[in-house]
Amino acid sequence: MGTRRHGARLVLALALAASGVGAAAQNRLEPCLACHGAEGQSQTPEVPSLGAMPEKYTLIQLFMFREGMRAAAPMNDLMKDATDDDLQWFATEIAKLPPPGPPAEAADAARVARGKALAEQQHCNVCHRADFSGQENVPRLKNQREDYLLATLRAYKSAARRGYDASMAEVVQSLQEAAFEDLSYFLAHDR
């Protein structure tokens, strides 16, 4: 057990070193990466990948977790006592993690095409950028976990999740479940 854990830490440390995160930062980021995954890629169901996430988006989400404006039990607890400077530090360091990649298995080309067309018709590619890498307060979507994307779209629709601004609340109101599934599939598998 102890050895395995040590081994996991070593892998994590190597990954962080390779991604440009300084040694001092590694210890502080470790609790984040335990769930969100090393190298910016989450292996945990419904927990988002954070690699290459725009700094301002992460800052806003951490702020919302701290203030109870966005509910996610572990995050609300973890951020409870964080200072503004702490939030900024995490946002800055997380943005340095490498971007996540697509799932290894081959994607269903028809579903990808359908989701891509829908993403363009719904103008997702405007705020989230043409390559879905995100910008400023708008998150990166490219190769995000499919289950997280789907859960997020549903939560915006049911108002279980409120955005920092009202953009997503308005965007999802005209969309149905089938569209959420196609969008999530495309964004997760986009190459």
């Binding site: 359908r114 829908l118 719904q122 609340a169 005209s174």
Partner: protein, 428 residues
């Protein structure tokens, strides 16, 4: 209280009705089917915030900037970069309030500060000559509207207006809010409110259009007033897209208000407006048929005579410039030329390649209440097409100085005139 879903349905029904009534106009639903095999029976309508958004690379670059959730440290505020006319002085009044927007002053001198996205209400107090900032309430629903009367603070959230009595005696243990008016929709787009108390002792506020451009349900796109206990609600003006600033003209008691016009029509049109309400309960200000008083909407404007139907604006304040706070100056500290002039804070544009605004303008009026002239007064929030701050609301202090809120930096500045220069200026 009505649910989100109910209003969405009303909104969609209204949009559908508009489409049916105007079969030859550009309907709300896109005509072209989406490419690829369809998953649903019909393509989803384009979200209202993207209606008429061109897909040129230039337009694709434009998006509203979100205010940072973390305030700028007091010593990093951009006061030295802001310009004021000769003889005026600008200094930091208070800092450390993320998203600081609407300002009101309590009878005992507390400054109450409303916010939009960060959902908090702050109090700024002075104890032993030291200014302190305290978060009074958090996790409200966009508490942008603030008013104060006889010891009671009134707070307007998206879907309710509340009061809290004797607040200044209980700043350390703020009592729970008591809702006085809840007959309001919950739509977030333009759901945040500006609140003020009229000379008739009624609360005045807006219910914005729940979209960039759409046929609003009959409950939206209007100004209302209620008694201080929440009773007697009246719609006093219609056809108003969104208002985030208003004040009553001293003497005439006529309500003046700024109005933000639709996005994506073009870079230069429409202009945002300064209006006045001459005929409460009767005046119609144009939305969604006409913008800036005289520009018919490409979709909803067909069949409408804008100049005839619409209460015309007093002034056009620049395309997409986002005029928010509007306050008449009645104090004696500023030179006499500013007495009874209207100050307007232009938050600054987002829906424009080359941004404009990010300043406070001064509007001089004729004796009949029309606009004689307006010009920038305090400028400099916009640097190289980026904001270093964004002014929102103003508040005249008992000594005649003017407080100015900045929701980008989470700060309040104090504008004064003719005071001896202090060492603070040198410190900057």
């Amino acid at each position: 209280m009505q649910s989100h879903a109910t209003h969405r349905t009303v909104l969609r029904a209204a949009a559908l009705a508009a489409a049916l009534l105007a079969p030859f106009s550009l309907a709300a639903q896109p005509a072209a089917p989406s490419p690829g095999p369809a998953t649903a029976a019909a393509p989803a309508p384009v979200p209202s915030i993207f209606i008429d958004r061109p897909s040129t690379p230039e337009a694709m670059k434009i998006a509203p900037p979100a205010p940072p959730p973390i305030p700028t440290a007091g010593d990093k505020l951009p006061v030295a970069k802001l310009t004021v006319p000769k003889g005026f002085k600008l200094e930091v009044f208070a800092s450390g309030m993320a998203g600081a927007r609407s300002l009101v002053r309590g009878d005992k001198g507390t400054i109450f500060v409303g916010t939009w996205m960060v959902n908090r209400v702050y109090a700024v107090t002075e104890r032993n000559g030291k200014r302190e900032v305290k978060t009074l309430y958090s996790n409200l629903f966009h508490p942008n509207g603030m008013a104060f009367k006889n010891g009671t603070l009134y707070i307007a959230e998206v879907n309710k207006i509340s009061k809290v009595e004797h607040i200044e005696d209980n700043l350390d243990h703020p009592p729970a809010l008591t809702a006085i008016y809840t007959d309001l929709p919950s739509d977030e787009p333009h759901g945040w409110k500006y609140l003020t108390i009229g000379p008739d002792n009624k609360l005045y506020f807006n219910v914005g259009a729940p979209c960039n451009i759409c046929m609003p349900p009959p409950t939206h796109a209007q100004l209302r007033r209620i008694n201080l206990d929440g009773s007697g609600a009246e719609v006093i003006a219609r056809g108003i897209r969104q208002v985030v600033g208003m004040d009553f003209q001293p003497g005439s008691n006529v309500l003046y208000f700024t109005e933000n016009q639709r996005d994506w029509l073009s870079e230069e049109l429409p202009n945002d407006k300064l209006n006045r309400l001459l005929h409460p309960g009767k005046d119609f200000f144009g939305f969604p048929y006409c913008h800036q008083g005289n520009v018919p909407d490409p979709q909803f404007g067909w069949g409408h005579d804008c100049l005839k139907e619409v209460a015309q604006p007093l002034a056009l304040l620049g395309p997409h410039s986002a005029p928010l706070g509007a306050r008449f100056y009645t104090g004696r500290m500023l030179p006499a030329a500013y007495r009874n002039a209207l100050f307007v804070a232009r938050h600054g544009s987002w829906n424009k390649s080359k941004k404009i605004g990010g300043d406070i303008i001064v509007v001089h009026l004729n004796s009949d209440g029309t606009v004689k002239s307006w010009k920038p007064f305090l400028a400099g929030f916009l640097v190289d097409n980026n904001y270093i701050g964004r002014p929102v609301d103003m508040l005249q202090m008992p000594d005649g100085a003017l407080l100015i809120s900045d929701d980008w930096n989470g700060a309040i500045y104090r504008l004064s005139y003719g005071e001896a220069k202090t060492s603070k200026r040198a410190e900057r």
